[in-house]
Structures are given as C-alpha cells and as structure tokens.
Symmetry: C2
Subunit: 436 residues, 2 copies
C-alpha cells in the first residue's frame, strides 16, 4: 500500500468507538439487565435497523423527522434508520398481533440513530434499552414495571435511587376543572421544564399564558408529604380525578405490601412532557448525583400501534438511559470490578514447552479462570510489563526447572507474592478465591 | 387515528423481525460464545454502524462496494453502513494503536448490512461474529484460534463438526514452482469453487486456463491421508514450501499434545478464495449436515490495516456464521431447551389477594425461577390456556382457601401433577429440579 493512498482512520462527528473496558462494562450491564427482565418472564425481540421511512415516520413530518438518517436504497425505496425502539415495537406488535400472546412482556436493547446537535455529550448513535408490558391495562402491570425498575437497577449495582411517579390523568382532570383543556400542550411543556428553568420562571411563563389560574397549577405541582398525604391532598384539589387517584392508590398499596414503598415517591410535577403517555408516568433520580437527571423513565400509553392497526393496544413501559447510568456508576466507582480480559497470564518462557503452556491454560480455563498464554520465548521482564499493561492479576511462571520438578509457580501480580503448587486444580481454586 | 391514514406494517425485502423464540436463541448463543472467548482472555470492542464511506471502502471501488448502503448525511458527508466487521477492526486498530496492547484479542458480534440479491436465504441485515488475535504472527496464535473454534462450538452445543485447515503459502509455492504466479487469482477462484461445481468441472476450467500444468494442481488438492501423511506428501510435492509446512507441523503438534487432533484435518483444497489471507486458512463443516457449508471460517493475514497505517499489523481470526449455525442446530433439535419467558405462572385468581400473588412471584424470582403473574381475576380455564400459549411449564394456583390454610398449590402443566407446599422455598427447589 503506497502511503499517498493512505486514509486517515477517523470517525464521524457524534459517533464513538468503545474500547474494551467501556465495551465490556456496557455488555455486562446489559447482561444483568436482561437477567432481571428474564426473571419477570420478559422476552427479547429484534427488529431491523432499516425500515420504510413511511413506517417509521408515518405520513406526517414532525420535528424529530429532521434528525432521522433517511435515504434511497438500491431499489430506490425511501428508507430510514430507526430513531427509537418504540415505533418499531408498535409496527412489530401490529404486524405480528396474531403470533404473540398478550400481555406481551418484551425487552429490546439496541442502537438507534439521531442526527442531533452533538453538544453536551449527546451522541448520534446510542443504545436504547426498553422494556414494556403490551396489551394490558391493569394497575398490576403498572406496579410490575415499577418493581422491575427497582430490581434491575439494584441488580446492576445502583445503590441509591428514587423512583418518582405521577398519573397524567390527575393533571388532565385539573386542567378540565380549570377550563384550561386547550392549553394542555403548553402547560405540560412548561411543567416539564421545571427542573431546567426553576419554579419561579415556570410560574412567570404560566402566568403570561393563563393568568390567575396559574396559582392552582402551582399549588398542584407543589403538593408534598408522604405518598398517602399527597393522595389525600390531591383528592381535595382535584375531586374529579377519582379514577386516576384510585389507580395510584392501588399501585401504592402493592408497593406497601411488598415493603418497598421507600424507593417510590409520588411527584405531581412529573409529566414526561409531550410524550404519548396517558396513565402513570415515572422518572428515576440518583440523589447523590442529581446532575445526571433521570436514568430510567417511562409510563403508560393507551394506544401504542394506532398508526398500523385498528386494535387499540395499551401498555406500560420504561427505558433505561444506559450511557448516563454507566457514567454515573463510573463516577461512584461502582464499576471497578468489571474488567475485561484474562485474569491469569501464562508466561510462555521456554519454546521447548509450547504444548505444556497450552495444557496449563486449558486446565485453568476449564476451572473458570480466564487465561491467556502470552507470546513465546520473551525475557522475564517483558512478561511482567505485558501482564501489567493488560491489568492481569495473576501469572503462572514455569520454565525447565519447574517442568522437571512438576511444580507450578503462581505469582499474584498485585501483592507480588509467589506460591508453588503441584496440583493445577488447587492452584486455580486459589486464584478464583483471590479474584472474587 | 383515522383509518385512511393507516400505514401497513411491513418490512423491507431482505430484512427480518426476530420473534421472541428466535431472538432468545440468538441472544443465548451469543452469550455462550462470549463466555468461551472471555475464558481465553478475549475482550469486546464496539465501532459505529455509520462511518465515512472513504474509511470503509477506501478510494477504490470494487464489487462489494455496490452492495453498500451509502448516502449523504445531514452535513452532506458521504457515509456508509458497515458491511463487515473486519474493515472497522482495521480502522479501529490503526486509530487506537497506542491505546491497545498487543497481541490484542478482540471479539465483535454485531449486525452488518449488504444490499445483496435476496434469493436463497440471504439477508440484507445479518450478524457477524468475529474474533481475532491482532499483532502477533506466531503459530501459537494460529493454534489458539483453532482451539477456540473447537471450544466455542462445543460450548454452544454443536456435537459433530470437522475443522479443516490449510496454509496459503504451500499453494503459493506450488504455483511459483509451476511458473503459474500470474494466474494466482484465477486458480484460487477455481479451487474455491470445488464444493459448488465439482472436481471435474474445476479440472476442465483449469485445463482451459493453464493446460498440462493442471495435473500438478489436481494432484495437490487431491492429497489425502492422515494429517502427518498429508504433510509428508506435500513436502515431496512442494519442496520449496518448507516454511509454511513447518508452520502447519507446529500447529499440528500442539493439537496432538492437547489430544484434540481428531477434530482437525489438513485439507489442501481450502483456499478461502480471494480473501486477504496469507497464512493458515480454515473452514468448519458439519458432517451430518453438509448442506449448510462452512459454519466457521477464517485465517491468517499479514497486513490488516495497510489502508490506514504504515505499521504492518499481522493477525489471525475467525468468523462464525451465526444464522447458518442456528439453523443447523435447530434442524438437529439441539436448541429445544432454549425457551424464552417465564417458567412459572402465578394464576392471580382472586383480586382480593393482589399483593399476595406479587409476594409469591418475588420469592420465586429470588430463588431463580422465572416467574410471571398472569392478569387478575380471570376464569380458571383462561389461565391454563394462557400458560399453554406461553409454553409455561409450572403454575401456582391459589385462591381464598389456599391463602387461609397457607398452602401453595403447584401444578406441573406438562404432566398435570399437582402438589402442595407450605414453604415457597421448598416449592421453588422442586420447580428448579423439574426444569433442569
């Protein structure tokens, strides 16, 4: 290859490589999430990255549409890369309605693409991790998603989090009561900005929009207390919201019965903005790291697949913000144990014993120790450096002497202690004990 | 949503959804592959789906290029979706050369896209599963990839397979010897068609191309016997190929020392066609299901990243044909145990006990039984049907009577046997035993 033909290895703006440490952490977190989801009977699905643009975007053309990676394929079809996993789920459920059994509990954790502005740690390629219960409208499913959020976050090691929830129906009833129905969109949008612009600014903008009735909205989003106190207060403030309040009460009583109410707080200012939610909505915050915002959010919708089928398909689901969550766990030092690669290195000092080194490695792997045979015939110092570079904690050092006396020298590369073993099984047990 | 605005839920030609069974099998097979790879110290990486077209295709324009999904992005950049994981690996290694430590053992199992002709079970979106040892030119690495192929295929339950290997260098020396160097490409292409068009047709086409010298080529690809016999024969036929033959001998002696030579056969007709391999090449066949062709292939290359860096980067690697392998395992009935979803259903017969059903499920999940609480307050027959639809094998059936006597009724839905337990832990142990 002539140098003048060389191409600079580089990435598109907004796209990233994952080096092994990062890729491994992501992989392991996803494995754990899937384990939690499986334990609740959730099943995976997969859908294509490319679909007909019409199927993904509908016939309209909203704000998101401009961010979509859209082009003509080889057959001049108008195609797009998926920008979320919810639209593909809707299409999937409509298309396979008769092959699925409902309530359908599915998860889907894959990449999506949006040609967004790349400022502030936003990427154009990122992983969505969604789980939903589709085809069921019960408070039992609402509760199950909340319980699953708690279970999954604990499973991946998040040690302090607060799941805050609300019911869209209560605010809707309040707006009706105040004859503010026609301002619903603007009011939702404003309340959603609470965290960003602050209470006073929201109040000012509301007042500009709806005048004196602002007071009642502010009173509503200000309601505080224990979950039960909040519900009593809401019953007084929005007497027409009997149905949504009673739904929240059912969910709460299940949380209480399971003795996990502490993790969950009703928060009347949570609306999930302009999303398509119609029932409960929720967000998850890290009290130690509020700057990360919500790491897991979602809610209930009453018509998932209206674009594709006449069958009304209700559901409830959540999405974990994987990148954000991993960044937060990293900041708290909770991912230190997730290290990819070998745990033990075999120093293949003497080419004479090539096969012996491989046999040692084979035995150790079969005992559960991740083992790498380092290249053959290097100097002792090279091996130590190589093991250090790869953050390998243990080494087996064997040359002619050891093989003739049939002993294996094990070196803990962290505390620098050396020990000798006649039996590889015994040696591997020691390594496993020191590792876990 | 008005019906006239509805959109038909459909997929692009050559693209597929994976329903839960299929998605789960794929997920579990990948988990097992990654476990095997991890045990050898391999680490994951990730690269973007979209890259600069120039980076993926170079400055030329070959046959593959026409199949690439290529378009202008929002910033009018010429971008393409990756069509394999080897080019991204080359770019990745060149770009992160100083952040990686070599030999670099990496795996990458993700989707790639090719706008190919969709006949004969070929899809335009499919998963590549690659693993390579990069930055090392030793026979030890060649051996390790072969051993890993065997380990990984066994780990995912393939019960009968044959790994056949060869060394490109031997054929190259033969061609030199016959003064056929300038026909290398055509000859490789013809030998590669052996499986498809048969020996006689290859012979005819070779004769047309190179006349009488065909005999020597045919004699070469016809060499048979034990691995050692083949090597002796090759030493006679191609005396100049001392170096590649001695490399194959080293690999073979490691396979013998590990007592796994039976799985591996030298096959002089394996060339991997026009691929960029320069050393050993290999393919994996299923003797029971020859029609599936090779399910795992690869080889050694001497210059992975020549397009992006002056550093010559050798390596050796393999790719598993996941779709083909899964189809073959399915045909052999070896995937029956990989069933997604709940193993046990809680029949939530009486809404009075909503919280109790959830507590039962929680205990079972914590004991390791995948548990789903079915919707509340249905008729008994509905629950049985629902559990059957979902292929759930066990159920806990509890109503007012059971709760008042504090017993749990467990029903094995396959053999229809019912038993009663006072203790949920005991019950879950019984379920786990019956499941495994």
């Amino acid at each position: 290859m002539r140098i003048e033909n060389m191409i600079q290895p580089r990435l598109l703006k907004g796209f990233r490589d994952a080096l092994p440490n990062e890729a491994y952490v992501r992989e392991q977190i996803i494995v754990r999430l899937k384990q939690s989801l499986s334990s609740f009977g959730f099943v995976p699905i997969d859908t294509p990255v490319l679909e007909y643009t019409e199927v993904l975007l509908g016939k309209g053309g909203g704000e998101t549409d401009k961010q979509v990676y859209r082009f003509q394929d080889h057959g001049n079809r108008d195609v797009s890369m998926r920008f979320d996993l919810t639209v593909p789920l809707a299409r999937f459920v409509a298309q396979h309605e008769h092959e699925l059994s409902f309530p359908f509990r599915r998860y889907h954790m894959e990449k999506v693409w949006r040609g967004e502005n790349t400022q502030k740690g936003r990427y154009r390629e990122f992983i969505q991790s969604d789980f939903d219960i589709v085809g069921d409208d019960s408070s039992q499913s609402d509760f199950e998603i909340l319980l699953l959020m708690k279970t999954a976050l604990e499973e991946i090691g998040v040690d302090n989090f607060s799941i805050q929830f609300n019911h869209r129906g209560i605010l809707n009833e309040l707006l009706k009561q105040l004859e503010l129905g026609q301002y619903e969109v603007e009011i939702l949008r404003l309340i959603d900005k609470l965290g960003k612009i602050g209470r006073e600014k929201v109040k000012d903008e509301l007042t500009e929009l709806i005048g004196a009735r602002t007071e009642a909205i502010i009173q509503f989003i200000d309601v505080e207390g224990t979950n039960l106190e909040i519900l009593s207060e809401l019953e007084k403030l929005v007497p027409q919201a009997e149905e949504p309040i009673s739904r929240v009460r059912s969910i709460l009583s299940l949380l209480q019965a399971m003795d996990i109410e502490d993790t969950f707080s009703i928060n009347t200012s949570i609306t999930r903005g302009l999303d398509y939610y119609t029932g409960i909505v929720f967000e998850t915050f890290l009290p130690d790291l509020p700057e990360y915002g919500s790491v897991c959010s979602g809610g209930r919708y009453n018509n998932l697949a209206g674009l594709y089928t006449k069958t009304p398909i209700p559901g409830v689901g959540a999405a974990i913000g994987l990148d954000r969550l991993i960044a937060a766990l990293n900041e708290k030092g909770l991912l230190k144990d997730l290290k990819p690669g070998a745990e033990l290195a075999v120093f293949a000092l003497d080419p004479e014993y090539a096969a012996e080194y491989q046999k040692i490695a084979d035995t150790l792997r079969k005992s559960g120790v991740k083992t790498e045979v380092l290249p053959m015939g290097k100097k002792m110092q090279w091996y130590f450096k190589q093991a250090e570079k790869k953050s390998i904690s243990h080494a087996i050092i064997c040359g002619a002497n050891e093989f003739s006396s049939q002993t294996y020298q094990l070196k803990n590369l962290i505390n620098r202690e050396t020990s000798e073993y006649k039996d590889l099984q015994e040696l591997s047990q020691v390594v496993l004990q020191e590792l876990r």
